[in-house]
């Protein structure tokens, strides 16, 4: 059996009195699309934040590519090649689309303008941003320099997904990427997810949308009460089964229960 690309064991995260992650395990195989499903508040977002470095778990360990890692800031996860679309989107509303896409990894002008005067290479950044948005079919965005706050929720979501897809080199994490999107845009995102996988990059997809999950996922991690409840193969179970496992209405077979 191949080793997981990203692996976690015994993750614990408490917020005051709330235990968001309760000795949670996690495995992402190379090249797969892993869906994470679970009730609201089950701790899905906390899990992926613990993986990406956005929160530091109180206990537990994480391995990337077999090497133990301990991220204490989201920048560290990004440097290791893990790119995340957070549920809250993480955009600076007053800044432009291009600025947001390149936030934290800006491109500087070539030559002295860049090295001494540290000038941003706006044309290059804008060109790149425009391309990425076109790939997602977000052609209705007229002006790459408009502030993100002038975009609709769906457009913002699209920008965030484009950013992750463009820069993720090892793992891409998408926390409810289609939540704010219309039908057509959701379609594009699903296609994009499959494109990315085709590039060999594995994806973690959190979603409440069962049809989407069952359409694209290779495996489904069912999250419940702060831990991995079971992992199912979407070809072996129906959506109703998954929802039943997730809500506790039905117990998964012993074999699937995680240790």
């Amino acid at each position: 059996m191949t080793e997981p690309l990203l692996k976690a064991r015994g993750l614990v995260k408490r917020y005051g009195r709330v235990t968001a992650l309760d000795h949670c395990d996690f495995d992402l195989m190379p090249g797969e699309i892993l869906a994470v499903i679970g009730d609201n508040g089950a701790g899905k977002s906390s899990l992926i934040k613990a993986l990406s470095g956005a929160v530091v778990p109180d206990a537990g360990e994480v391995w990337l590519d077999g090497r133990k890692v301990r991220f204490t800031a989201p920048t560290q996860g990004r440097e290791a090649g893990i790119e995340t679309v957070y549920q809250t989107l993480a955009m600076s509303p007053a800044l432009s689309i291009a600025d947001n896409i390149f936030m934290g990894r800006e491109i500087r002008r070539p030559g002295i303008m860049g090295s001494v005067f540290r000038m941003l290479d706006r044309p290059a950044m804008e060109k790149f941003a425009r391309e990425k948005l076109s790939e997602l079919g977000l052609m209705t965005i007229q002006n790459i320099n408009q502030a993100v706050e002038t975009l609709s929720g769906g457009q913002r979501q699209g920008v965030a997904v484009a950013r992750a897809a463009a820069f993720g080199s090892r793992v891409i994490i998408l926390d409810e990427p289609t939540a704010a999107l219309g039908v057509k845009e959701s379609r594009r995102v699903l296609d994009l997810i499959q494109d990315v996988r085709a590039r060999g990059i594995p994806i973690i997809l959190i979603s409440h949308n069962m049809p989407h999950v069952f359409e694209v996922a290779d495996r489904v991690h069912v999250h419940r009460l702060g831990r991995r409840h079971c992992v199912i193969d979407p070809k072996d179970y129906t959506m109703s089964d998954a929802v039943a496992f997730m809500t506790g209405a039905k117990e998964p077979p012993e074999a699937l229960l995680s240790a």
Binding site: P74, S92, A94, N100, M119, G154, V183
Partner: protein, 348 residues
Amino acid sequence: MTDNPTTATADRVAEFDQGRKGFVHQVQHRLHVTPALVPLIVLVGSIAVFGALLGNKFFSPFALTLILQQVQIVGIVGAAQALVILTAGIDLSVGAIMVLSSVIMGQFTFRYGLPVEVAVVSGLAIGTAIGAFNGWLVSAMKLPPFIVTLGMWQIVLAANFLYSANETIRSQEIASEAPLLQIFGTTFKIGGAVFTVGAIFMIVLTLILAYVLRHTAWGRHVYAVGDDPEAAELSGVNVRATLISVYALSGLICAFAGWALIGRIGSVSPTSGQLANIDSITAVVIGGISLFGGRGSIMGMLFGAVIVGVFSLGLRLMGADAQWTYLLIGVLIIFAVAIDQWIRKVSA
């Protein structure tokens, strides 16, 4: 029952709503996109009005450059204040840092007999250090900027009085022994216009900061942190480092203001700068920078400072009682944010 309501509405979501774009809206939008425009308009307007009322007593190269000289200290400190306010903070210690730095430059030279260059560098370094300490308290200890800088204001000001023993270093001494301290006071005359190094420094500093804020990654990070620090953190900005660097830079700029202050008043006086906090905040606010952070342009701050200078000089030349000037500036402040609030509605 339309035959295809779905697509029709779906498209609309992603499109721009062109419906309400009347003239007022267009104006509102323009102003929203270019935040320094309002103060610029107010500035040009007020120069025009005072020019009309006072003739070339006011509308002369001499008077107009005089305004620049008079606002130079507020303008420089205002640049520091603007940086901090862009991160949704506030710095009440600017005036105190400025004065302490100028006192250090003077005392290091005259009390300890250090070379004046060393004294200047020490002053700049201490200003930067105090700023950095503010930044550390704000970003690492997560204390509210208002309180941190309120406390620091008192601490630094008291330290200033204790250290200086309330002694003024006189202009003549400085001129003969350490003229470098007065370098910002050097004047150039071009026609009737009189420029000082300090006034030019204020303008150049603002232009550099405008460049840095707009065209470098650090500048974008400052805006992102002020806009939404959590989002900035998640999208890869080192929020703590950015905040500390902003407060430290603010301290450095205040120290430069202290140096410029020596140039302006000639001497080193520990009682200077008592109003620098309020004046710099006023310039920033009239300049259209949001106290909530993340919005506004540093050029606006410069216009804001000059607006106050224009009103002060104009009203003084008209013989108005100084209290009327203060009253008017109070009205101007409230008016400025009311306009700002109105413009902001466009983005709601």
